[in-house]
């Protein structure tokens, strides 16, 4: 019985559950920013765990898996930041019941620059 295969597949299973929860969050949350919260965090950890589990199952692949994990951990927050910024600039509102929106005050006084 290869114990490392079982360990790897269990990690993969946990990761895929997180991926599913992230997608569920994207589906259920009330507004764009909350969706992005769920989408970014859960999918990042889910992808990391899924890939890591497969890297443990096939330990000879671990180098490539690590590079992909590093790339995803670096790019996923950047892309969701860019998207959140664009959406806020475009005027997509926060959901009802939001407490504060300090960015709006800044954007209304901002001069467009290049």
């Amino acid at each position: 019985m290869e114990w490392y295969r079982i360990l790897g597949s269990i990690i993969t299973l946990i990761g895929s559950i997180f991926l599913f929860l992230g997608a569920l969050g994207v589906f259920r949350m009330p507004d764009l920013y909350n969706r992005m919260q769920a989408g970014t965090k859960a999918t990042t950890l889910g992808t990391i765990l899924t890939l890591l589990g497969i890297g443990i199952c096939h330990y000879e692949w671990i180098g490539q898996i690590l590079v992909i994990i590093m790339f995803i951990a670096l790019t996923n927050p950047i892309s969701s930041h860019a998207l959140a910024r664009a959406a806020h600039f475009k005027g997509i509102p926060l959901t009802k019941g939001s407490v504060a929106d300090k960015l709006k005050e800044k954007e209304s006084t901002e001069v467009e620059v290049d």
């Binding site: 929860l21 569920l24 919260q37 859960a42 951990a73 950047i78 959140a84 504060a100 960015l103």
Partner: protein, 162 residues
């Protein structure tokens, strides 16, 4: 001189990436790739970053990665709890926090870490003020928010990118 060190460092990093990716032991392969990495580093020599050379920074980086991973796991249980509960418990808003970090790289890592940790998402950055979407706003005051959100990371990042 500074630029030459940057180019050499970046060549080394790119070759290391290639080595990790392929796991090759063929000498010709490594030589060819080192040459290509050198060409790429020379092409982008204007936008390379300063290398971190002191061992203290390396140790702190490793600690930081471990700390961040624990925070990410916490964040995920937080997200999971919010997503599966039938009446989604949120209290969102956008707040400002202030950072002490000066280097561009440090700010980027800080913003990414904030995005990955519980309940917060960086929306915009303006010099040293970060605009953060917080899923569960407890206090809209800048000082308290700074204390709650960024202080933990800054401890490490100030040393690493100091």
């Amino acid at each position: 001189m500074d630029r030459i060190i940057k180019v050499i460092f970046s060549t080394g990093i790119l070759t290391l990436f290639y080595f990790i990716w392929t796991g090759t032991t063929d000498l010709y392969n490594i030589l060819i790739i080192a040459f290509i990495a050198l060409v790429i580093s020379i092409i982008y020599n204007r936008s390379l970053f300063k290398p971190m050379l002191s061992p203290k920074k390396w140790i702190y980086s490793i600690w930081y990665v471990i700390f961040l991973f624990i925070e990410i796991i916490k964040a995920n249980f937080d997200v999971a709890r919010r997503v599966v509960s039938p009446k989604i418990p949120i209290n969102p808003g956008i707040v400002t926090v202030k950072t002490k970090l000066k280097s561009a790289m440090g700010r980027m890592i800080l913003a990414n870490s904030i995005t990955l940790t519980p309940g917060t998402l960086t929306v915009d950055i303006d010099e040293d003020i970060l605009y953060i979407h917080w899923i569960d706003v407890t206090n809209i005051d800048e000082k308290t928010a700074t204390e709650k959100i960024v202080a933990n990371f800054e401890k490490y990042l100030e040393v690493i990118f100091g």
